[in-house]
C-alpha cells in the first residue's frame, strides 16, 4: 500500500512527505518483494540496467553503479550470466541489488534472507547496516525474529493488520526469564506450588518449563523444588528473546 501496489480502502498515509503510492517519490524508495520474479532471459547486469533506467538513472551513472552493486551483493562473477541459470539465493542477492541500484532513502525488504545460506544472510545484514550508515531507512519485514534481533534498531509487531507493539531493540532488555528444569520425583503438590511464581507452567517427560518476571526469584524456586523432594538435574534460566516477546504479544497460534 505504501508503494502503490494495493489501493487503500480508507484513511491516508504519507511516505517521505508525499501520499503513499506517489509516483515521483518512488524515485527515493527501493523495494525487494518477498515473492519476486524477474525476467529470466536477462543477464544480471541487464536487469540492474533495466531497473536503473526505470528509476531515471542516466547511462553514465549506471555504468558506474552496476559493477558496484553487483560487488555489494556478491555476484560480480555472474554479471553476464542469464538469470535462468541462477539459484534462489543468487536471485535473492540480485533482487536486493535492484532495490539498491538508485541509492534510495527508504528501502522496503520483504523477507530478504529467505533462500539464503548463512554467508548470504550475513551479507544481507552487512548491506542493511551499510545502508543505515549512509543515512537510509530500511524496513525489514520478516518472520525470522532472530534476524531482526541482530539487524534492526526498532521492531514493530503487526497482528491482523493492526500495530500491536513497538520496541527499541538497542534498549531491549526483556524483564523476564524462561526457565527449563530437568527433574525427577516432582509431586503434583510441588507443581501446584510453583503457581506462586509463574502462571505459564508446562511439564512433559521429566522437564518443566515456565516463565518468571524477575531473576531474583530463581534461587527461591530452586530451593522450593529441592525442599519438596524433587531430584533436580538441571536448572536453566534464559533471558526472554524477541520471539518470546512476539508470542507474548500476538499469542501462541496467531495464524500469521
Amino acid at each position: 500500500m505504501l508503494l502503490g501496489l494495493v489501493r487503500p480502502t480508507g484513511g491516508e498515509a504519507t511516505v517521505l512527505g508525499a501520499p503513499a503510492g506517489d509516483v515521483t517519490v518512488r524515485r527515493r524508495i527501493g523495494f525487494l518483494p518477498e515473492d519476486f520474479r524477474f525476467y529470466d532471459w536477462l543477464t544480471a547486469s541487464e536487469l540492474l540496467r533495466f531497473h536503473g533506467r526505470l528509476c531515471g538513472m542516466s547511462e553514465g551513472k549506471l555504468q558506474q553503479r552496476i559493477p558496484d552493486v553487483l560487488e555489494l551483493v556478491g555476484i560480480s562473477v555472474h554479471a553476464d550470466r542469464r538469470l535462468r541459470g541462477f539459484s534462489k539465493g543468487m536471485l535473492q542477492r540480485l533482487g536486493l541489488g535492484q532495490a539498491l541500484i538508485h541509492e534510495p532513502d527508504i528501502i522496503f525488504l520483504d523477507e530478504p534472507t529467505s533462500g539464503l545460506d548463512p554467508m548470504g544472510r550475513r551479507m544481507v545484514r552487512d548491506v542493511i547496516r551499510a545502508q543505515r550508515d549512509r543515512g537510509a531507512t530500511v524496513f525489514l519485514n520478516s518472520h525470522l525474529l532472530s534476524e531482526i534481533e541482530v539487524t534492526c534498531d526498532r521492531v514493530a509487531f503487526i497482528k491482523d493488520g493492526e500495530l500491536v507493539a513497538e520496541q527499541e531493540l538497542k534498549t531491549f532488555s526483556p524483564d523476564g526469564f524462561r526457565v527449563t528444569v530437568h527433574a525427577a520425583n516432582v509431586s503434583p503438590e510441588a507443581l501446584a506450588g510453583l503457581s506462586r511464581w509463574t502462571s505459564t507452567l508446562s511439564a512433559a517427560a521429566g522437564a518443566l518449563s515456565f516463565g518468571v518476571t524477575s531473576k531474583d526469584v530463581l534461587p527461591d524456586i530452586l530451593r522450593y523444588l529441592v525442599n519438596s523432594g524433587a531430584d533436580v538435574f538441571r536448572f536453566t534460566p534464559e533471558p526472554l528473546s524477541l520471539e518470546d516477546l512476539f508470542v507474548k504479544l500476538v499469542g501462541e497460534d496467531c495464524g500469521l
Binding site: L3, G4, L5, V6, R7, V23, T24, V25, R26, R27, I29, F31, L32, P33, D35, F36, R37, F38, Y39, W41, L42, F50, H51, R53, L54, C55, G56, G95, Q98
Partner: protein
C-alpha cells in the same frame, strides 16, 4: 515519458531474446514456402494450356488473396498467442511488483508494453505481407491493388486484437485471456462469413447477426475491407470466399474499429491503473 520507451524497449528485447519473433517468422517462412510451391505448380499447370489472360489473371489474383488471407490469419493468431501472457502472466507471477514500484506510472507500463508489441506485430505483418506479395509477383507477375492501404488495415486489425488481449489481461489469467480472446475473435470471424453469406441469401436476419458479430469485435471487418481495396472490382466480385466483394465494410466500419480500439485501450488503462497488484 522515458518509462514508456524503457518498457517498449524491454518488450521488443524480450521478443527477440526469447525467440518469439524469430519463431513466428519461421512459421511465416514455412507458409511462404508452401505458397511459393503452390504458385509454381499453378504456373506449370497453366503453361501450354489455351487460356484467356483474363481467366488467368483471375486465378492468379485469387491465389495471391489466398496467400494474403493466410498471412492475415497467421498474424492475428500470433498476436493473440504472443501477447496474452505479457500483463496477465506478470501480474500472477509477481514480476510486476518490482516494476510497478519504480517511479513509473502504471499507464506508462501499459503503454510501453503495448507500443513494444505494436512494433513487433507491425514488423511481422510487414515482413509476411511483403514476402507474400514478393513471392506472388516473382511467380506470376500479379500485384495487389493498393497494397499499402491493405497493409495498414491488416496491421490495424492485429493492433485491435492486441488491445483486446491487453484489456482482458488486466482482468484475467493468461489461460482465460487466451480462451476469451480466441473466442471473441472466433465470433468476429463468423460475423464476417455471415455477412458474406447474407450477400447471397439476402436474409435480413443473417445480416443482422453478422453485423452484431462484427460490432462485438470489428477485426474481421478490417480484413474484408483490406481484401476489397487490394483487388480489382471484377476479381473481388467473382467468388464466394473471405475476400469476395459481397458485403464490403464501409469507411464508417473502419472508423468504428479505430474508436473501438481507443475505447478498449482507455478501459484497459483505467482498470490496470486502479486494480491491486
Amino acid at each position: 515519458m522515458r518509462g514508456i520507451w524503457v518498457m517498449a524497449g524491454i518488450t521488443l528485447r524480450e521478443a527477440a531474446r526469447r525467440k518469439i519473433l524469430w519463431t513466428a517468422l519461421l512459421a511465416a517462412t514455412l507458409l511462404l514456402a508452401v505458397f511459393a510451391i503452390a504458385l509454381r505448380l499453378q504456373v506449370l499447370e497453366f503453361q501450354g494450356r489455351p487460356m484467356s489472360p483474363f481467366v488467368r489473371y483471375q486465378v492468379e489474383s485469387g491465389m495471391l488473396m489466398v496467400g494474403l488471407y493466410t498471412c492475415d490469419l497467421l498474424a492475428v493468431v500470433m498476436t493473440i498467442l504472443t501477447s496474452i501472457d505479457t500483463l496477465a502472466g506478470e501480474i500472477s507471477s509477481g514480476t510486476i511488483h518490482a516494476i510497478a514500484t519504480k517511479p513509473i506510472a502504471r499507464w506508462q507500463i501499459f503503454a510501453g508494453k503495448f507500443l513494444g508489441f505494436t512494433g513487433m506485430i507491425t514488423a511481422f505483418v510487414a515482413i509476411t505481407f511483403a514476402g507474400t506479395i514478393g513471392v506472388a509477383y516473382a511467380a506470376t507477375g500479379v500485384l495487389p491493388e493498393h497494397p499499402l492501404h491493405g497493409f495498414v488495415l491488416i496491421t490495424l486489425e492485429c493492433i485491435l486484437v492486441l488491445a483486446l488481449t491487453f484489456l482482458l489481461g488486466t482482468w484475467f489469467s493468461t489461460l482465460t485471456n487466451g480462451v476469451l480472446a480466441l473466442g471473441i475473435q472466433g465470433v468476429a470471424f463468423m460475423g464476417g462469413w455471415l455477412e458474406q453469406v447474407s450477400g447471397f441469401s439476402q436474409s435480413g436476419h443473417i445480416v443482422t447477426l453478422g453485423v452484431i458479430s462484427s460490432l462485438i469485435l470489428p477485426s474481421e471487418s478490417l480484413w474484408r475491407r483490406a481484401a476489397y481495396v487490394m483487388q480489382t472490382p471484377m476479381a473481388g466480385s467473382l467468388s464466394f470466399s473471405p475476400f469476395a466483394n459481397v458485403s464490403i465494410p464501409s469507411v464508417t466500419a473502419v472508423a468504428y474499429a479505430v474508436v473501438y480500439l481507443a475505447c478498449m485501450l482507455g478501459v484497459a488503462i483505467y482498470h490496470f491503473d486502479r486494480r491491486d497488484l
